[in-house]
Amino acid sequence: MNAHPHSRGRAAPACAIRGHAYVEAPFTGVAALRDQPSPPSAPALPARFLRHCDEQTVVAVRAVLDVLSRLDEPPTPESCGVVAAPCQAGRIVTARSLSQLRTGGAVTVSPHIVPQCSLHSVAGAVSVALGLHGPHLGIGGGPEALAEGLFAAFSLFECGACTSCWLLLSDWEREPALDAAGGPLGDPVCRGLALLLVPEPAACPGATRVVLAEPSGLVAPLSTDDEPVDLAAFSRVIGMCAAGAALTAWGVPCPWPARIRVESRPAASASHRREAA
């Protein structure tokens, strides 16, 4: 994005990953996480905080708590934002609710379905759970949510809205087919990845970088037919980068002509960034 007159001389937007955790649980295992979301040495949530939450919220919250359990210093609540990009969250609750609506009428509709099963719900739950005061947003909602969530996190840093940001990506490994009462057929796996992002100048040297890049010259030519990146594969790449693997350019295709690049090269220091600008 450097070629345009209005962005000339500016480095491609980048941020660094300060912590990450990936959680997956079968549908039948989500209840246990819902009742006991906090691992040892992570902040305890209020009792039954997740009782009305969608499954994707439950695994995303657990992933956040896993990251926090390993951090020396949590992000500052006053300036920490949340971007959550779930993929078709709320399907099971919605199906149940609609089945009940048909048989029992509107009196059966839970008042929790709007606050707990909308696109903003995962972000809202994490914001409330941790008492964060930066903005919190739900992003995407469909199969392109991973790239959209990354792009939204760049946007929050770009406008200076926060100094750190939780990026939460969640989906079902395979979108569950449901029976007539809204119950899932089989035992589908729900997945959540939490990344704690900081603007690049604030990153420690060696941190994994995420860079917004146009296709020209930076990564392989973009095909608009690219399939969305699988969340587990993306999580493995993040893990490899964090472990020091020499990965230089792993691209996440966006649903528009751009790619988001993940790389394990050392993050630039603040002085390098100033020089580049």
Binding site: M1, H4, H6, S7, R10, P77, Q88, R91, T94, A95, S97, L98, L101, R102, A106, V107, V109, S110, P111, H112, I113, V114, P115, C117, L119, H120, S121, G124, A125, S127, V128, L130, G131, L132, H133, G134, P135, H136, L137, G138, I139, G141, G142, P143, E148, F151, A152, S155, E158, C159, G160, A161, R174, E175, P176, A177, L178, C254, P255, W256
Partner: protein, 409 residues
């Protein structure tokens, strides 16, 4: 945010489109708002209604977009689902109003929409479909809209509950500021549905004044008992002022400031401590480089809920200080109902109307202002005055707080 923002070129609004309970053009809506007309009325309760009598602020007709802005003809448009039509019609109208060629340009799209899949599944189900059960992944509406409008820049959906479309405006401005794109179509819309009405009703968030629907939406009034749901929304084309000037296009106003924060307290109930909502207002004014006494009008979020209106009044007073005594504040939800995802964009449009017509729209039904909401209210009728700077508040479930500042061109 302030220093960086003030050094950058202003981002202005060159296109407006709306579909709402008060009309489907800027002038229709401005006329209705300034005349104090209500869009709230009784609606067909349908087979899944919670009560025998129901009321809301529905959209009565969705205009077919012009072919200059949308690749669909009238037949193709009519085949779309109602949610798609509610979003596409105002979005295409904003593109046409801006007169900005979409071919070859770097034009983005940010759609504020809080429950796209929930609504899509529900409407399909009520129509006899099985999509909610099928286990398919559907491409997001925003990408279908971008294709129909010929927009090739970044496109995404953003949700912050009732502040969703305001955050869409904030993100679009950031992308332009950053040089990522040249222009951005931003806004949001929402749709009435049996499940959403029932959920809010069962939450006791909706007014139950079934005997007189037009009097039901009464923000800041001592007799308020909840909000009235509406549908529709608004879209805007944003671009740099120099680009708009070079095209010689009419500039409707500047998106001068954005402030955002979260309560971090509760999934539904707003904080009674006004400090976090006030922080968003203060940040928006600082971003715009505007002092409190330079604000000429505040369009309040005030939906008519007992807790929310008091909390917002406190936040406005905390943010504006003594200047609050002389700044007219009104809630246009008293006329439009609460457009949910589309509310923030629609209320930004109300601010543009106030700037265009040089008058503060009223809060209708404000017969007995709540003593807990001490503000310079505009009850019943519009108040003519010089309006150069208008602020619009939007708050949402999860404690999401947003303030936009709009300035005359």
């Amino acid at each position: 945010m302030t220093a960086a923002r003030n050094a950058r070129e202003p981002v202005v609004i060159t296109g407006v489109g709306t579909v709402s309970p008060l009309g489907s053009s800027f002038d229709e809506v401005a006329d209705a708002l300034l005349a104090g007309r209500s869009g709230v009325r009784s609606i067909d309760p349908g087979p899944h209604a919670r009560e025998a009598v129901q009321f809301a602020a529905p959209v009565s007709g969705i205009p077919t977009p012009s072919r200059e802005a949308c690749s669909l003809d009238a037949e193709g448009f009519a085949r779309l689902g109602r949610l798609e039509r509610l979003c596409l019609a105002p979005a295409a109208a904003a593109v046409a109003d801006a007169g900005l060629p979409t071919t070859g340009g770097r034009i983005g799209l940010v759609l504020g929409l809080g429950a796209e899949h929930l609504k899509t599944w529900e409407l399909d189900f009520l129509d006899g479909g099985t999509r909610v059960f099928d286990g398919d992944r559907d491409r997001s509406l925003v990408h279908r809209l971008a294709r129909l409008l010929g927009l090739r820049g970044p496109a995404l959906t953003v949700a912050a509950a009732c502040a969703s479309s305001g955050y869409a405006m904030a993100l679009g401005r950031t992308w332009i500021d950053s040089g990522w794109i040249d222009a951005c179509l931003v806004g949001g819309c929402d749709i009435l549905s049996p499940t959403s009405i029932a959920a809010f009703y069962n939450m006791r968030a909706l007014s139950r004044r079934t005997d007189d629907p037009a009097k039901a939406s009464r923000p800041f009034d001592g007799d308020r008992d909840g909000f009235v749901m509406g549908e529709g929304g608004a879209f805007f084309m944003l671009e740099r002022r120099s680009a708009a000037a070079a095209r010689g296009v009419h500039i409707r106003g500047e998106l001068a400031g954005v402030g955002m924060s979260s309560d971090g307290l509760h999934m539904v109930i707003p904080s009674t401590d006004p400090v976090h909502a006030a922080r968003a207002i203060v940040a928006a004014l600082a971003d715009a480089g505007v002092a409190p006494d330079e604000v000429d009008y505040v369009n309040a979020h005030a939906a008519g809920t007992p807790v929310g209106d008091v909390a917002e009044a406190g936040a406005i007073r905390m943010a504006l200080g003594p200047a609050a005594d002389g700044i007219p504040v009104s809630s246009t939800k008293s006329m439009s109902g609460h457009l949910i995802s589309g509310a923030a964009a629609f209320e930004a449009l109300a601010c543009l109307a106030a700037i265009d017509r040089q008058a503060a729209p009223p809060t209708v039904n404000l017969d007995h202002p709540d003593p807990g909401c001490v503000l310079d209210h505009v009850p019943h009728v519009a108040r003519p005055r010089t309006i150069r700077v208008a602020a619009s508040n939007s708050f949402g479930f999860g404690g999401s707080n947003l303030c936009l500042v709009l300035r005359a061109a």
